[in-house]
Symmetry: C2
Subunit: 208 residues, 2 copies
DNA sequence: CGCAGGTTTTTGCGATTGGTCATATTCATC
DNA sequence: GATGAATATGACCAATCGCAAAAACCTGCG
């Protein structure tokens, strides 16, 4: 037996299979949650048998944990990219664009994280209070700098970031509700409309 | 056998027990989700035996479904109370206040609805596209009226409501993340700070 | 008081689901 | 064909839902 899940070195085939399982797991877990999903559903979506999935990972929880971890960096990248060098408003509006884009193109990832955090983020370990906090603190300091320089209206940077997270991710996480309320026709342009709305709101708010 | 769950008429004792089960179920379901929670956990939290809980309801799903339904009206009440007669900005800021208050005082309810909608809201039936849509459309029309009268800056009312939902509920649903990022000291005042921030943002945005 | 009716609770069990393990068997590659 | 990787098969075990029937508990009324 190979225990593909534990060995560090992996063949091309192994990586492909693991990727297929990740993709399937993202589908199933984001829709039903960790407990609501079964290994068999993941296996079927990946085109493998339940036992074969276990061969590549060490069980259900391991898939979920590794999936979360592998998506983490991608998830916070837009905030990472916010630079102190750019134009303040541009930087923030670009950040909003990218977050709306992620809600449209990666709703499963958004829901996965949402569910996890909603339930207390037990598997995110201490990533939130350490790494994420550090990142947000760093970017908040930059924003604060812009405000101190009179380039933006003075507001609490932390809550500004929270509000951007909330508004943008809302369109991925609560898509069912958004579409229900907007109705079929207006739903077609919900992401563009949302982006325009949020940007408009931030421009009016942040104008010094 | 009495089938307390099905009969329309209920004694005082029955109602009390059912209420206790609701309370326990809210605790457990909001924390672990429907599938993640077990009947026994609910029963223990309610101080009853598992089988006795089944006596009062017709099983796990029935508790969850009835719980959701019983909370729905409470949940949308603040929006219901928004009146066309009041001062536009006041009405909206009051709405924000009440929503933040609900995030602080009823986080379990918020998370329960969040989880449900996140997973496609299968048990909310067609409440979203019918009743909720009607309510939001009605209030959006009122806001639109205010904007047309020049009392508020022109914005999309639907997305304005979405953004208020998103920002206020964020502090209940993602409380773990908020507290992690803010750190212990700043967390103490997170709801007051959030309310002030959101109101400030809306005032700047909606000023005609 | 005591018992007859219904109500509530407990006991015990059947059945299903789902995660995991152990052991073949097939496959690919040298 | 030899060797290790990959897949398939079968079985097991734990968790848990839900039912049925017995037991305990009222409560009103003769």
């Amino acid at each position: 037996m190979a225990r593909a899940g534990t060995t560090a070195r992996k063949t091309r085939n192994q990586l492909e299979k693991r990727q297929a399982i990740f993709e399937a797991a993202l589908d199933v877990f984001s829709e039903k949650g960790l407990r609501g999903a079964t290994l068999e559903q993941v296996a079927k979506a990946a085109g493998l048998s339940k036992q074969n999935v276990v061969y590549y990972f060490n069980g259900k929880d391991a898939i979920y944990a590794e999936l979360l971890e592998s998506l983490l960096e991608v998830w916070v990248q837009p905030l990472r990219d916010m630079s102190a060098d750019g134009d303040p408003l541009d930087e923030i509006l670009t950040y909003v664009s990218r977050k709306v884009q992620m809600s449209r193109d990666m709703p499963r990832e958004s829901r996965l994280f949402a569910t996890e955090i909603l339930h207390g983020a037990p598997r995110l370990g201490d990533v939130l209070p350490s790494e994420l906090k550090a990142l947000v603190d760093e970017k908040s300091a930059i924003i604060q700098g812009w405000m101190d320089a009179g380039k933006l209206a003075p507001l609490d940077p932390h809550h500004l970031i929270f509000s951007i997270w909330a508004m943008t991710q809302h369109y991925a996480d609560f898509d069912v509700q958004v579409r229900s309320v907007l109705g079929p026709d207006r739903s077609a342009t919900r992401f563009e409309d949302a982006e325009a709305f949020i940007k408009d709101m931030l421009i009016r708010t942040l104008r010094p």
